[in-house]
Symmetry: C2
């Protein structure tokens, strides 16, 4: 499976779609590490993984390689907090995530608006685009809402507040 992806990347580099592209050890090593991630990953995770493998790559090269891989159609970029999640002070945005496109195509993403957890949901919903004159190559669907844990937590907190206000009333 990894082999298949490496081959596809090879073919892309041979194609010279954008300009002449070269097959380098750095690019294939980065791709190899990417293939090992079970889910999506961010830049820092990738950097750490390469460090752990004692393979030093500069940040600039990492950004460049990720773009080449995106252009090759091998990985996709996700920005999961775009949408309806506000960025408040001291609450850092979700870093941009990357994922093998092959994997991304088998599921969709559910983002909890409270804890910001990202859950992969296996069954891709059926999307039926109405008659239109463009060719969609790729669809990105992100659902926002509350995960079970946060929904329960909110309910418990609401209950606690009600209890408290009743206690306060009886004091008066």
């Amino acid at each position: 499976m990894d082999k298949d992806i490496q081959d596809r990347f090879s073919t892309y580099l041979e194609e010279n779609r954008v300009k002449e592209r070269r097959k380098t050890e750095v690019r294939f090593t980065i791709l190899k590490e990417i293939c090992d991630f079970p889910k999506h990953f961010d830049l820092e995770m990738l950097q750490d993984k390469l460090d752990a493998a004692k393979y030093r790559v500069s940040r600039a090269t990492l950004y460049n390689t990720l773009n080449v891989l995106i252009d090759a159609g091998i990985i996709v970029r996700h920005q999961f907090d775009a949408g309806i999640i506000a960025h408040y002070p001291h609450q850092k945005p979700i870093p941009i995530q990357y994922e093998l496109r092959k994997k991304a195509e088998t599921h969709y993403h559910f983002v909890c608006t409270r804890c910001r957890g990202i859950r992969e949901v296996k069954n891709m919903p059926h999307i039926q685009a109405p008659g239109s004159n463009f060719t969609a190559e790729y669809a990105s669907l992100c659902l926002y809402g509350l995960c079970n844990r946060c929904r329960n937590r909110i309910q418990r907190e609401a209950q606690k507040n009600i209890n408290q206000s009743q206690t306060n009333k009886s004091k008066k």
Copy 2:
């Protein structure tokens, strides 16, 4: 319609969902300008619009207000180039776009992978999420592909290349 949105913002500010929030002239003025945009807009466009209205607002306040509006469920954030568009040197990413949530819910977005144009498509495709145990509040669907103009342009260019290589052959 604007009135309705202003009222909803008012209600949100009174609710103190996150912490105490205050109704300020700045916030309502920004929202008023936002309501005027026919489509999505980015931070710079909003800043320019406020400048044109001779209304000075600092950048920090603008970011803060946008987050408050997102949290209030009045606007949504879009990052249209997350996905399958590579960021090459000298090719700036599409700036983060904002849009009235009400508007966003009536259409979806199609992003051309070549010219990066964003087209709103009126008919929202029917999305049927399979049985799952979370409550989706909002769905963001982005389709990537080639717009008609770019598809034609690519075809023309391909044809030109074929013609050229034939001319070269006959020279030899």
